[in-house]
């Protein structure tokens, strides 16, 4: 009996254990072989498993491993589950994951934590696969938390820098807030249905066993978890900071895979969300708001990775919008294409940073197109893809999202309009990036400029593959492939004919963004600076990311610490409880001193005491007689 799913999951774990435990003793070459070989192997096994899935009549593959916790007749089991949805995810995760592993070989060369890096990366892959393949929400949650851990470790990979360590912590804790919601959602599901297995949950939802109110509750609570992991408002704050990690990590975890877990979760439990238009509306609103908000911030960021980070937040917002309007398959589609082009963009940015010896500030780049041509070309392709230029991948997926936002039953004009503006902004900020980094004249410091070099083959090769995928990925008809599982929403009557005009409109938006970017940032005149000066307040707000971090610090963290320190510790613990205790103790000491003073050695005083005792005794008994 073969257990392909288990094998897929365990291969990276093996890599983690080998590199984690023996790493420093293995030597770079062996670390590389283990660290990259096992993910690739996992990808191959995954391909085999998907073929097995397709060879069957579409029935999901299930591998039950063991019972985690038995309770009478019920139990919480650890089981892996492969259907078409998880198949898509597994392929993306192992595929893109493997590519990024390979890329990392060149990127991390010479880092003293080389083995540790690959151990963490493998660990991440293990948890991500567990997340994707878990049959029950519990297993998914294990993976969910595990990828959070890996993310925490990798963001803080260069832990000597307190800011980087703090970024890791921030990511973990922000995610924890979401996890609290996730846990609650899970609890509600278990309390209501007695199971956490997602296929059973969907089936129960389809059979009407789940009341609509409960479905809404579950949907919203689980979505709170998703906002954490997928960096939606209001829990998006960690993702930009997460760029402190090595760039391949940003590509793998904070762009292509982990952050899409929230989207996957919602899609996985589509049955629940289909029952609850209210929950879906929440998703749609939060998604489109996040998309718009992040896109505006991305416009003014000067750190190349921060731009990409906000872009990721924005694109995730698009996916959530798709989920919110019921187009789960489309969301997954965008997830896949996004994985391709965003990985490509990040790795390209990594290549730029690598070329510039660690420089990340767009203001000190420029003119790189000639110096690192492969990076430039692949980056440009991916930029075009994310901007939504046909026939690249992003065009197809984004177009469908806008389409369902406009025409889907749960769509609406407002959702569509904000989405459209955001699509325009996307194009604008991405081409801004392209121009500032590659096309404008060089603003590099001379000693940096002197050392610019194209990245090694292992890196550029990966870039090329990803660029190809970004270009052609749109032709993989993911929504159609998933339709059996995730049916697309019905189109509102009367709007069916708008599809073609909409597509043209989307292209126009992308091109408009391109033109605007060229106008603002392409020439020597720098109209962008003038614009920024004219809208100084807005610019400042955007540069400071709407002051959300400061808001959280001022309204949540600091009051919390204040209450804990000033009220609970000083007043309740020390003043009240210990004060009471010390008060009683000094009362005892005081009365002890008083009593000792009674015993003054004077015989007659003792006699008086006796007399008092006698008298009192007689008086006491007298009235009772």
């Amino acid at each position: 009996m073969t257990l392909p799913l288990t094998t897929i999951v365990l291969l990276p774990l093996l890599g983690f254990l080998v590199n984690g435990l023996l790493g420093p003793r293995l030597g770079t070459r062996l670390v590389t072989v283990v660290g990259c070989g096992l993910p690739v192997l996992a990808f191959l096994v995954a391909v085999g498993a998907v073929m097995q899935l397709e060879a069957g009549d579409g029935a999901a593959l299930v591998e039950t491993l063991f019972t985690w916790a038995p309770f009478g007749e019920r139990s919480l089991d650890v089981a892996l589950y492969l259907d078409r949805l998880s198949a898509v995810m597994v392929l993306v995760v192992t595929g893109v994951g493997s590519l990024i592993h390979i890329y990392s070989v060149g990127y991390m060369k010479g880092d003293e934590g080389y083995a540790r890096y690959f151990a963490y990366l493998n660990l991440f892959l293990f948890f991500m696969l567990l997340l994707v393949l878990g049959r029950s929400l519990l297993v998914l949650f294990v993976g969910w938390e595990g990828v959070g851990l890996a993310s925490y470790l990798l963001i803080g990979f260069w832990f000597d820098d307190p800011a980087k360590a703090a970024a890791g912590k921030k990511a973990f804790i922000t995610n924890r807030v979401g996890d609290a919601g996730f846990l609650l959602g899970m609890f509600v599901l278990y309390a209501a249905l007695g199971t956490l297995e997602m296929d059973a949950v969907n089936a129960a939802a389809a059979d009407g066993l789940l009341p609509a109110a409960t479905a809404t509750l579950v949907g919203v609570l689980l979505f709170v978890g998703a906002t954490g992991k997928s960096a939606q408002i209001p829990l998006h704050v960690w993702l930009p900071d997460a760029m402190a990690g090595p760039t391949p990590v940003s590509a793998l975890i904070h762009a292509a895979t982990m952050v899409t877990a929230g989207v996957y979760l919602v899609a996985r439990l589509a049955g629940v969300y289909q029952l609850s238009p209210e929950a879906s509306l929440v998703l749609a609103v939060v998604g489109v708001a996040t998309a718009f908000f992040a896109a505006t911030v991305a416009l003014v960021q000067t750190d190349i990775k921060k731009v990409l980070a906000y872009s990721t937040v924005s694109q995730l917002g698009f996916m959530v919008l798709a989920l919110g309007v019921g187009a789960h398959g489309v969301a997954v589609f965008h997830l896949v294409t996004h994985a391709f082009f965003k990985a490509c963009l990040f790795l390209g940015a990594g290549s730029v940073i690598h070329a510039l010896g660690g420089e990340q500030d767009l203001r000190r780049m420029g003119g790189l197109a000639r110096r690192i041509p492969i990076t430039f070309v692949t980056f440009a392709v991916a930029t075009a893809a994310i901007a939504g230029l046909p026939p690249l991948a992003g065009f197809f997926s984004k177009d469908e999202i806008l389409w369902f936002a406009l025409a889907g039953e749960q769509g609406g004009l407002l959702l569509f309009l904000v989405g459209a503006v955001t699509a325009f902004l996307t194009s604008l900020y991405m081409f801004r990036l392209l121009w500032l980094a590659f096309l404008t004249p060089s603003r590099m410091a001379p000693e940096v400029a002197a050392h610019v070099h194209e990245s090694p083959r292992s890196m550029t090769g990966v870039l090329v593959v990803l660029a190809l995928l970004s270009a052609l990925g749109g032709f993989i008809a993911v929504p159609h492939y998933l339709e059996g599982l995730l049916p697309l929403p019905a189109v509102a009557p009367g709007r069916a004919a708008w599809h073609l005009p909409l597509a043209l409109f989307a292209v126009a938006l992308a091109l408009g963004g391109l033109a605007a970017a060229r106008h603002l940032f392409g020439g020597e005149a720098r109209p962008a600076a003038a614009l920024a000066a004219r809208l100084a307040t807005l610019h400042r707000v955007l540069t400071n990311k709407y002051y959300v971090d400061e808001l959280y610090e001022g309204f949540i963290h600091r009051p919390l610490v204040w209450v804990a320190d000033r009220v609970l510790l000083r007043v309740v613990d020390r003043l009240l409880m210990d004060g009471l205790l010390h008060g009683v103790a000094s009362l005892a000491r005081g009365s002890a001193r008083a009593l000792v003073r009674v015993q003054n050695g004077q015989l007659q005083r003792y006699g008086w005491l006796v007399l008092v005792g006698l008298g009192a005794g007689l008086l006491w008994t007298w009235p009772h007689v």
């Binding site: 015993q599 003054n600 050695g601 004077q602 007659q604 006699g607 008086w608």
Partner: protein
């Protein structure tokens, strides 16, 4: 019977005077005398009741009590002497070394 009541009252009075005397007098020997007075009051009441009840045991007890009183004095006086030899004082207030 009235006599008995009077005598009993006397006994109680003697007992009380003895006790109060111990408490208020500032001389150890006088205090010992008041202690005897207390006992005498008790003995008086005991004699009355013994006579009243015709109890042999009561009579025995009276004699026992005499012996006890004598023994107490026999021990107490040397103690007072011991103390007085050290401090030349019969005031109980002079002997307050033990306290606290």
């Amino acid at each position: 019977m009235a006599d008995t009541g009077m005598l009993l009252a006397l006994a109680a009075l003697l007992f009380t005077i003895g006790l109060v005397g111990i408490l208020v007098r500032r001389n150890l020997l006088v205090m010992l005398m008041f202690l005897e007075l207390m006992l005498n009051g008790v003995l008086l009441s005991l004699a009355i009741f013994t006579a009243h009840a015709g109890s042999a045991a009561g009579a025995v007890l009276i004699f026992l009590a005499f012996v006890v009183a004598a023994a107490e004095v026999a021990i107490a006086v040397p103690l007072v002497v011991l103390l007085a030899r050290r401090r030349r004082s019969l005031d109980p207030g002079a002997y307050m070394d033990l306290r606290g």
